[in-house]
């Protein structure tokens, strides 16, 4: 009887120590789910989802406060990746959040710009360069295409343009092939 109690007590002590040690040694900083959701988001920081940036949206998803179909820039692919990560059913991007479109970059018409700095304050990734009453310009490589700079501009001098294709960013086109002879005939 006594030995049984002792054995159980010793075991409890040993496992307690083990768990305590593991809690210190393998401690996880922050919330890994939020990190993993955030890693799947496109980081445009555009706020179309209704949250002020990608990370707040990731936190909201993790807390079940937001759905996975609120990110038009991430598009269908992004939504599917989220669905897979969180083991939820895929659903189409909600129309109220905007539609999925090809990525664009902001460009400032430097002739028209009056140097008001409003777009600089709006840019979530500090991709606009300039100072008061000085001409502003967009740093092409940093622009995420979030369009947040367009609304504040008092002289409408910001336009969205498709990014230039360079030798580095060029992609091979997919060759035209068909799954079946019927498909090919239908294609003519």
């Amino acid at each position: 009887m006594l030995s049984a109690v002792l054995v159980i007590a010793l075991l409890a002590l040993a496992f307690g120590l083990l768990l305590g040690f593991a809690a210190v040694k393998f401690r996880v900083e922050g919330d890994p789910v939020v990190e993993r959701i955030d890693a799947l988001l496109p980081q445009t920081q555009c706020g179309q989802c209704g949250f002020p940036g990608c990370r707040p949206y990731a936190e909201a998803i993790a807390n079940n406060e937001a759905d996975i179909n609120q990110c038009p820039p991430g598009g269908e692919d992004g939504m599917r990746a989220l669905a897979e990560l969180l083991d939820r059913d895929p659903k189409p991007i909600g129309a109220e959040f905007g539609e999925e479109k090809t990525k664009m970059l902001a460009i400032i018409d430097e002739e028209t710009c009056i140097g008001c700095t409003l777009c600089i304050q709006a840019c979530p990734v500090d991709a606009i360069l300039g100072a008061a009453k000085q001409m502003h310009t967009v740093i092409e490589s940093e622009c995420t295409g979030c369009e947040l700079c367009i609304a504040p501009c008092p002289v409408d001098c910001i336009a969205m343009v498709p990014p230039r294709t360079t030798v580095e960013s060029w992609k091979w086109p997919e060759p035209e092939t068909f799954h079946s002879l019927n498909e090919r005939e239908a294609h003519g």
Binding site: R55, V125, E142, T165, V167, W170, P173, R184
Partner: protein
């Protein structure tokens, strides 16, 4: 897999998996000696001719440059400088069409030759035998030398042996049909190649060097044998290998000679081997012994679409058009123009593009040579493609995943090990352009990776901005609080009384002292 194929008197050879025996079509360009192309009216020198980042132009418009003068400096670690191919005036630094499958433009330095061809003072490294390996490497880097077999990887990087090198392999296999520039170079400049081999051996501190040549080039083999007899160095060895396409592939040739496979995520260096092209060795010789920079190369201008096929030594920057004209112009039934060989090259839509360091062949195909527009049929899963794949991939599986856009799977099935040799295309009974699909998949995957790294940058910048705004707000708040505290202190009469008291005290003390 390593079926032995020994040769009378030679070392045992091995076999790489797959591959094909192809009609070589090389003879048409090897009837004449290497011809030297005249200086054209204009040279267009792209700044990115090698793998790695583009060099940065340091030339000024209107400046007179000399042959061998540096016109662009490398900025990145894996890069080389670009030199002016002749003396003349820099007329523009602008985007011009370059030989690239995209048909896009890239930054080039445009030089109008003055016909004098004045050179900068050559700086040879004559005493290379006593030079430190690093000195040779720097010299080769400064000479702008890149791999001349077609990949254009900076040569100096592949002379930087971080591990002990057992053997250096000089690749003279030149397995792709039609191309014969290495063949002609070995026939005519075997001594340069052997000298370059000795210099590279010294730079790598390697034990031995094997010069590998396919058995369809007896003239080149004889010339190399003579050159080797002259230097009489037992570390150098000439090896004839049976002609099987794509034996000239780095990994394939290493497997034939060593029987070992280069790890798929590793480098030849990992198994103690370094492989360079024979033309690169000749360029190393010219850089070290004569102090010449890489401003010209031998290129095969061939195909039934050109009147007099030949191997031509031309300055970098000479247009394809000028080279074709030099070879008698186009034949009447020319159908398409390809940079590189028929198997691994790519079609170009214009001949107004410059010769670059990577251009080993300009192939003008006639209507009879060109593959007719392919009628693709569905995959019947016959497995022929897997039989011929030298990288032991499963092309039909890769194709199925590519069609399904399941790029994760495509990557898991090692699409990046595909060397794009085109064997699977050739044997496919359904005529599926498999390599084109894999090229598509590769650029899609790279594009996604680029997007991801851009997203990471955006996240970093967003978080930095958030923390900056927070810091600014905190600072503002702190300032406001301090101000308020001082104001309150001043307001309270207590403090005022105390101050008056203190002032009186000070005045009294002053008086006492006097």
């Amino acid at each position: 897999m390593a079926e032995m194929r020994s040769r009378p008197g030679g070392p045992p050879l091995h076999r790489f998996p797959g591959g094909l025996e192809l009609p070589d079509n090389k003879a048409m360009a090897t009837t004449t000696a290497i011809r030297t192309a005249p200086l054209p009216r204009e040279l267009v020198v792209p700044l990115a001719q090698h793998i790695g980042d583009a060099a940065k132009s340091i030339a000024k418009i209107g400046q007179r440059v000399l042959r061998g003068e540096v016109i662009a400096q490398p900025e990145d670690a894996i890069s080389v400088p670009v030199h002016s191919p002749t003396s003349g005036i820099v007329t523009a630094i602008e985007d011009r069409l370059i030989p690239h499958p995209s048909g896009l433009t890239a930054r080039c330095v445009v030089i109008e030759p003055d016909g004098k061809d004045d050179a900068v003072e050559p700086q040879p490294l004559r005493d290379w035998k006593n030079a430190a390996p690093v000195e040779i490497r720097d010299h080769i880097r400064a000479a702008g030398i890149v791999g001349l077999g077609g990949a254009a990887f900076p040569t100096w990087v592949k002379l930087d042996a971080r591990a002990p090198i057992e053997r250096l392999i000089l690749n003279g296999a030149e397995c792709e049909p039609y191309i014969s520039c290495d063949d002609m170079l070995m026939r005519e400049r075997a001594n340069d190649i052997v000298s370059g081999a000795l210099i590279m051996l010294h730079a790598l501190q390697a034990e031995r060097c094997q010069l590998a040549i396919e058995d369809n080039k007896p003239e080149a083999e004889a010339a190399l044998r003579d050159a080797l007899a002259t230097v009489d160095d037992e570390r150098l060895e000439l090896i004839t290998v049976p002609s099987v396409y794509p034996e000239g592939g780095e990994r394939q040739l290493i497997q034939v000679l060593t029987g070992q496979e280069v790890p798929h995520d590793g480098l030849p260096l990992d198994i103690g081997v370094i492989c360079h092209n024979v033309a690169t060795a000749a360029a190393v010789h010219r850089a070290a012994i004569h102090g010449e920079t890489l401003i010209s190369r031998v290129v095969t201008v061939t195909g039934r679409g050109v009147t007099q096929p030949a191997n031509v030594e031309a300055r970098i920057g000479t247009s394809f058009h000028d080279l074709i004209e030099f070879c008698g112009g186009y034949a009447e039934d020319v159908a398409r123009l390809i940079m590189g060989g028929p198997m691994m090259g790519f079609a170009v839509s214009s001949d107004d593009i410059p010769l670059i360091k990577a251009t080993n062949c300009i192939l003008a195909g006639s209507a009879t040579e060109a593959v007719p527009a392919r009628v693709t049929l569905p995959c019947i899963r016959c497995g022929e493609c897997a039989q011929v794949c030298p990288a032991t991939l499963l092309p039909q599986t890769l194709y199925a995943f590519t069609r399904a856009r399941d790029f994760e799977k495509v990557q898991a099935y090692d699409v990046f090990d595909c060397i794009e040799c085109g064997c699977c295309d050739l044997v496919c009974p359904s005529q599926i352009p498999l390599v084109s699909h894999f090229r598509f998949a590769k650029t899609e995957i790279r594009g996604k990776e680029m997007e991801r790294s851009k997203a990471d940058l955006a996240r970093q910048r967003f978080e930095f901005r958030q923390s900056r705004l927070q810091r600014e707000a905190d600072a503002q708040e702190g300032k406001r609080r301090r101000k308020q505290e001082t104001l309150e202190k001043l307001k309270s009469s207590d403090s005022k009384k105390n101050e008056i008291q203190a002032a009186l005290e000070r005045a009294r003390k002053k008086k006492e002292k006097q």
